[in-house]
Amino acid sequence: MDGTPGATAAETVLRVKDLKKHFPVHRGVLSRVVGHVFAVDGVSFEIHRGETLCLVGESGCGKSTVAKTVMRLQEPTAGTVELNGNDITKLGQEELRAHRREMQIVFQDPYSSLNPRMSAGAIVGEPLTNYGLAHGADLQARIAKLFERVGLRADAMAKYPHEFSGGQRQRLGIARALAVNPRLIVADEPVSALDVSVQAQVLNLLIDLQEEFRLAYLFVSHDLAVVEHIGHRIAVMYLGRIVELADNADLFGEPLHPYTEALLAAAPLPEPGAKRERLILQGDVPSPMKPPPGCHFHTRCPYAEARCKVETPKLEEVKPAHWVACHLRPRGGPFGPLKARAA
C-alpha cells in the first residue's frame, strides 16, 4: 500500500491526505491579512469500516478543524478527503449532497446544536425529510424506531429540546445522525459536556451501534481515558499535525513520541497513591499563528536536540502500524526510554 498512516487491506471508508486548513488573520480598518493560523497543517489518516479512530490533543491543536474540513463544513486549504474512494474535496454542493448521507456529524454541545423550535421527532427525522427518504406514517415509524434504538421513549417525539437532559439531547443528536444509515460518524467531543454518569450511557450506546451497523467513527476528544476506552486506533495531534498514530494498546502501552508520553503522564489517574514517574511539561502551548520551526514540540520537549529546532520530523511508520514524527524515533528503533537533556 501507499504511505498513508493506517493503510491496510480492510475496507477503507475515509482516507485523508495532507489535509491543510489555514485561517487568514485580519487586522486594522482595511482588514489586511497579517498572518495565518495554521490550524491543520498536513494531516493524513484512514478509517476503516467498523473502526474508531480517535483524535486527541490539547485545546487548539486543530481537532475540530480536521472534523469540520473532513465534513466539508469548512473548505480545506489543501489536501484531499476521500469518502468510499471518492475525492469529495472538489465536489460542488449538489454532488456533495449525495455523499453527505454517508457521513454524519455529532456535535459537542447538546444544548446549542439542536434547534429549540423543532420538536424532538422533527429534529431526528429532518435528514430523512431532506433526502426525501420517507414521509407520512413511514417517517413517523422510522423516527420512533430511531428513538428506541438510542434508548429514548418514542412518546418523547413531541417534546422540545429544552425538556430533555444533556444526555438525552446527545442521544437525539446521535439518533439524527443515524437516520440516513451513514457509514461514518464524525463525533466532535460528543461526551465532553456531560457528567460522567451520563457520559457512560452515551459511550455505551456508541459502542453498541458500531457493533450493530459496522459504523466507522472519527472520534474527537481531549480526554485520554475516554479515548483509551473507545478507540481502536489513536492519533495524537500537536499544533496542527499528527505526531503519533498507533493501535490503542501500542499507543497507551508504549508511547513513542515525547508529547504523547507527556500527555499520558499529565492525565491524573483515578487511583490514589499510584506513584508514577511524572514528566511535567513546562511552558505553554505556542501560538498556532507562529508555530516553532522544526519540530513544533521542541520548545517544550525535554529531549530536544539541535536538529529538532530546524528540521521538521516526518510522520514515519517506525514499527508495524505505529507512526511517529520524532527525530529520536527512527524507523526500526531503538524504542526504550529517552534521556532528558540538561536544560
Binding site: 490539547e58 481515558a225 483509551e228 476506552h229 511535567i280 513546562q282
Partner: protein
C-alpha cells in the same frame, strides 16, 4: 429528625478538635426563584483540618460551588441566602459576622480561586495591580512594597519574566497563566484556607498538571488547608487526603481518599466510580471497550422537597423507606461516613 441526624453525625467521625480550622454544620443555602425555592445546599456538614486537602466531588448542579460561596458569604443578595446552619472559622461564626469583619477574612484568611478565571479577573487592571491591591488592603503594605511583593508572587507561581508580566492585562496572558495569576492573588496574603473551585477544569492536561503541582507545593510550603472542588476523580485521587461526595445538595459519603476508592459504600459513589473509563498506572486498562456502568435516570429537581434519600429514584438498592425517610450519615468503619439505609447490603455486594 433527620436534619439533626445529619448535623450530629459528622463530628462523630471527624471530631472538631483544635486541629480543625473550618467547621461547617448543617449548612442550608437556598435560592428564591419565580418557579420556587431551590435547595442548593440542603444540610451539609464537614470539618477541615489545618494543612489538609479536602476534595468535594459530585455531578454538575449538586451544590459544590454554592457550598464554597456560602463559606465566603458570596451568595448573591436578592437571589438567595444561607437559611440555616453554622460555619465556624477558627472558632468565629461566619454566618452572622458583620460584613465589614467578613471583608477582613475574605481574600485574606480564607481565599478562593473561582471556576472561571477570565470573569473573576478585572480586565482593565494589570495583573500586578490586582495582586498588589489585595496586599494593600489586607496587609497594609504601601504601594511600592505591595507591587514588589506582587512581582514576587508571580515568580512563586512560576510565571516567567514576572516584572514584565505584572504590567500586563489579563487578556494578554494564556489561560494557564491567568489561572496562575488567580492562585497568586489567592495566596498573596498567606491564607489559612484556600477554596479552589474547579481550578483546572478549563485547562489542558499538561497545564493542569503544572497548576495542581504548584498548588500542592505551595500548600506544603505555606501550610494552607485546601478545599478542592472538582468532578474529576483522577484529580481527587492525586491530590486529596479526604473526600466528600455530594448528591443533590446533600453529603452522600465522606472518607479518606484511599478508603473511598477502595471501598465506596454509597450506591451513588459506586455508580460514579463504575461509570468512569479507567486508565491505570501500569498502562493496562481494566476494561477495554467493555460496558461502562451507567447510572440510569436523572438528577432530581432541587425545586421540590426530597422527602427520602435524594438518590432513591435512580438507586437499584432502594427500598420503601428510602423514598420516605432521609438516611442519616452513619459511620462505616474508622473514618467513613455514608448516608444510605441499605449500606450494609451494598457493602456486602461485590462491585
Amino acid at each position: 429528625m433527620t436534619a439533626l441526624a445529619t448535623a450530629t453525625a459528622a463530628p462523630a467521625a471527624a471530631p472538631a478538635s483544635s486541629d480543625t480550622i473550618l467547621s461547617v454544620r448543617d449548612l442550608r443555602t437556598q435560592f428564591f426563584t419565580r418557579d420556587g425555592v431551590v435547595r442548593a445546599v440542603d444540610g451539609v456538614s464537614f470539618d477541615l483540618k489545618r494543612g489538609e486537602t479536602l476534595c468535594i466531588v459530585g455531578e454538575s448542579g449538586c451544590g459544590k460551588s454554592v457550598t464554597a460561596l456560602s463559606i465566603l458569604r458570596l451568595i448573591p443578595r436578592g437571589a438567595g441566602r444561607i437559611v440555616g446552619g453554622s460555619i465556624k472559622f477558627e472558632g468565629t461564626e461566619l454566618t452572622t459576622l458583620p460584613e465589614d469583619q467578613m471583608r477582613k477574612i475574605r481574600g485574606n484568611r480564607i481565599s478562593m480561586i473561582f471556576q472561571e478565571p477570565m470573569t473573576s479577573l478585572n480586565p482593565v487592571l494589570t495583573v500586578g495591580a490586582q495582586i498588589a491591591e489585595s496586599l494593600h488592603i489586607h496587609q497594609g503594605l504601601d504601594r511600592r512594597a505591595a507591587w514588589d511583593r506582587a512581582v514576587e508572587m508571580l515568580s512563586i507561581v512560576r510565571i516567567a519574566d514576572p516584572k514584565r508580566r505584572a504590567g500586563e492585562y489579563p487578556h494578554q496572558l494564556s489561560g494557564g497563566m491567568r489561572q496562575r495569576v488567580m492562585i497568586a492573588i489567592a495566596l498573596a496574603c498567606n491564607p489559612k484556607v484556600l477554596i479552589a473551585d474547579e481550578p483546572t477544569t478549563a485547562l489542558d492536561v499538561t497545564i493542569q498538571a503544572q497548576i495542581l503541582n504548584l498548588m500542592l507545593e505551595l500548600k506544603e510550603r505555606l501550610g494552607t488547608a485546601i478545599v478542592l472542588i472538582t468532578h474529576d476523580l483522577g484529580v481527587v485521587a492525586e491530590t486529596a487526603q479526604r473526600v466528600i461526595v455530594m448528591y443533590a445538595g446533600r453529603k452522600a459519603e465522606e472518607a479518606s481518599v484511599e478508603e473511598l476508592f477502595r471501598n465506596p459504600i454509597h450506591p451513588y459513589t459506586r455508580g460514579l466510580m463504575g461509570s468512569i473509563p479507567r486508565r491505570t498506572a501500569t498502562g493496562r486498562r481494566s476494561n477495554i471497550r467493555g460496558r461502562l456502568q451507567e447510572i440510569s435516570g436523572i438528577v432530581p429537581s432541587l425545586r421540590e422537597e426530597i422527602p427520602g434519600c435524594a438518590f432513591a429514584p435512580r438507586c437499584s438498592y432502594a427500598v420503601d423507606r428510602c423514598r420516605t425517610e432521609q438516611p442519616p450519615l452513619d459511620p462505616h468503619g474508622p473514618y467513613h461516613l455514608a448516608a444510605c439505609w441499605e449500606a450494609a447490603r451494598v457493602a456486602a455486594t461485590p462491585r
